[in-house]
Symmetry: C2
Subunit: 435 residues, 2 copies
Amino acid sequence: MATKKKQATGKKNSGVVKVALLGFGTVGSSVAKVLAESKFPGIVLTHVYNRSVARKRESAAAKYVPVTAKWTENIDDVLKSDVDVVVELMGGLNPVEGWLKKALSAGKHVVTANKQLIAYRGVALQKIAAQHGVQLVYGAAVAGGVPVIPGILQGLSGDRVARLSGIVNGTCNYILSRMETGAEYATVLKDAQQLGYAEANPSADVDGYDARAKLCILSRIALHAELNPDEVATQTISTVEAIDFVYAKELNCTIRQVSRAQVDGTVVHARVAPMLIPLSSPMAWSHGTQNMVVTSGSYGGDVVFSGHGAGGEPTAVAVVSDLLAVAQGAKAVELPVRKRQVTGEFLAPHYLRFVVDDKPGIVSSIAGALAKVGANIDSLLQKPGFPKHRLPFVVTTEPCLTSVIEKAMGAISKLDCMLEKPLTLQILVPEDKSE
Amino acid sequence: MATKKKQATGKKNSGVVKVALLGFGTVGSSVAKVLAESKFPGIVLTHVYNRSVARKRESAAAKYVPVTAKWTENIDDVLKSDVDVVVELMGGLNPVEGWLKKALSAGKHVVTANKQLIAYRGVALQKIAAQHGVQLVYGAAVAGGVPVIPGILQGLSGDRVARLSGIVNGTCNYILSRMETGAEYATVLKDAQQLGYAEANPSADVDGYDARAKLCILSRIALHAELNPDEVATQTISTVEAIDFVYAKELNCTIRQVSRAQVDGTVVHARVAPMLIPLSSPMAWSHGTQNMVVTSGSYGGDVVFSGHGAGGEPTAVAVVSDLLAVAQGAKAVELPVRKRQVTGEFLAPHYLRFVVDDKPGIVSSIAGALAKVGANIDSLLQKPGFPKHRLPFVVTTEPCLTSVIEKAMGAISKLDCMLEKPLTLQILVPEDKSE
């Protein structure tokens, strides 16, 4: 037990915790900066691994790396060293997964910001960590500088969280909150790419794969449900148009990429999609690249976490906080996690937007298709000022199942008058228990 | 070291953690309920201390207490027992402080929701806990079910938090958010008292003493600054009138009881007062009894925590989460805290509301008094429709020091035409670093 304790605090070597950084990009260099400026006693950066070390050593941020640290392009220099903590900031599964397994097996703690790795391999890696009496911590994997993961793990372990929803992809939030002011998707995406908020290939962000990984991590810690990320339904934000924000506003809503999950017995309902959010809901507060997570507990009701989800320094705060925890032997509460089936089904009102070549009978056809599946129309919105030959209009439904709406929309999209594939968005309904 | 480890996990007796509840009121009975329903393995409620045990045992909530638990009116039954964790939910300094000192000294962990105790005696109690290798945790002392304390301790330890502001008193927030819709203070206070949100003597809430204790706790963990609660300036909300919300709205603001603190070298600026909050600020999101805390870090920017700050079950979530942490030996990061001088001075724009018997020269007198101290007028607002003999109007100033404004207002309040003491409110200016 004494040995385990010794390892658990991260201080094998006379009170000093030796730290290796894997990756010296935006976040890695910010971590070096925070460590250099804050000088937490007993934490020493001893290794920096990166490709093209020569180039990195000439970067402005290299001044934050102690002169005593070893820069290397050879991962074995880290894995075979006596470092106590490996901080992984490279992302992706390969080759990082293999490296971190080796690190954990060699008795090194791991701090990582790698959401894909933790979403797909977190449980397996945690087992290896436990076997070797070390910690695997990943507070930076979701919502960067917003302490959602430590807040849930430590502060909500006593609740039964049955639902959670979040805005966890800053790129999508930037794009959609810009579109709120009238801009079109393509324009804003281009701006986002120029500002460095979006990749040249934006698919991981706009199609929901980044958010899906984060949703799975949140489900694991808040709902104690282990989901297969590949089974979580996603819907791209790239089909949302400026006109949708006009109609959303009519409905006192805005549109955001929402990641939501809800426990229902042994099944978890989960979905990453652009959704209508009431302007009165906390979820509508997030602008720009901000992140927000709302958990709903049986006992504590809704809890909101919000802040800067991305960027070098906010993410470095999460990484360094994790590093301090490992260095001090601080640990979070652990509760059992169960593998759960996933479904994309939600019972919710829906927003349906059509662009048609207007002719008599269109509304009747749409209403008929909806009636056929038992979906009730709640409202029909048609803004004036659009040409009849390219008319956008909106139908909202009363709560009905996703699959039911999709069936009706499959039929409706085949109507001759449809000029584009209709857009189906779930409308988020706040459900916090009353005060 | 093995002994310390054994104590640190809270499990002295074959994997079972014995828990005593001090206080079986709203929060205490909710803790019993959560424990009974959630059945966390290894946690057993063995003692319930309260006055009038006979009455408590007949309450509906008594069914959540295991039949094996001992109910007692004698604190020694707890202090001299083999319980591992004492959960204190009684509040106040006396006699609780002495009891908890004894409990810690006897090697018992303490979980408490007692904000006054932690604000005034937290550092001293923490020392006793450390000396005896046990934990003192108080996640429920601020913002009930909102994991602000664990979120800051665990997730923001890597940042340098220089400022924080919060809405941490649900009673004041209920009163002021109701007044936002036109009601007068006295009416809303009465409602709050009937709903159980306010005490018969509401002073601790409305005059800011409750919030002040919480602000001191937040300053300790976020700013690493130890303040004397008695030195923190407070201002009552009871002098805010319905008309102030009308003028606040003109300024795109609302009014909330704000607790704020800001580090400036070795001095901490701290104040609990009703303040004008821009409607665009996260601080304006909190309605009803909700709580909100915003921390501002040098690296991570603004982080918002929000949710149900009070009530039995939300507070029980924090208590039970702390209990799980103690039971599992989970600990938070600890950083050094320093004693700091406090000042109530802030450099801020101010809102000044006057009620006058209108005569020529009043504005000139006010402007003169402000000019004399070097305070610049930013705007003058006068809503139509009020009688000249009882005219409320408002002056806002450019940023100036609290003491400077107070000096001018001292002179102004002596003017003959003043029908009531003028109201001075600080205007909160959002300062989050740009994205």
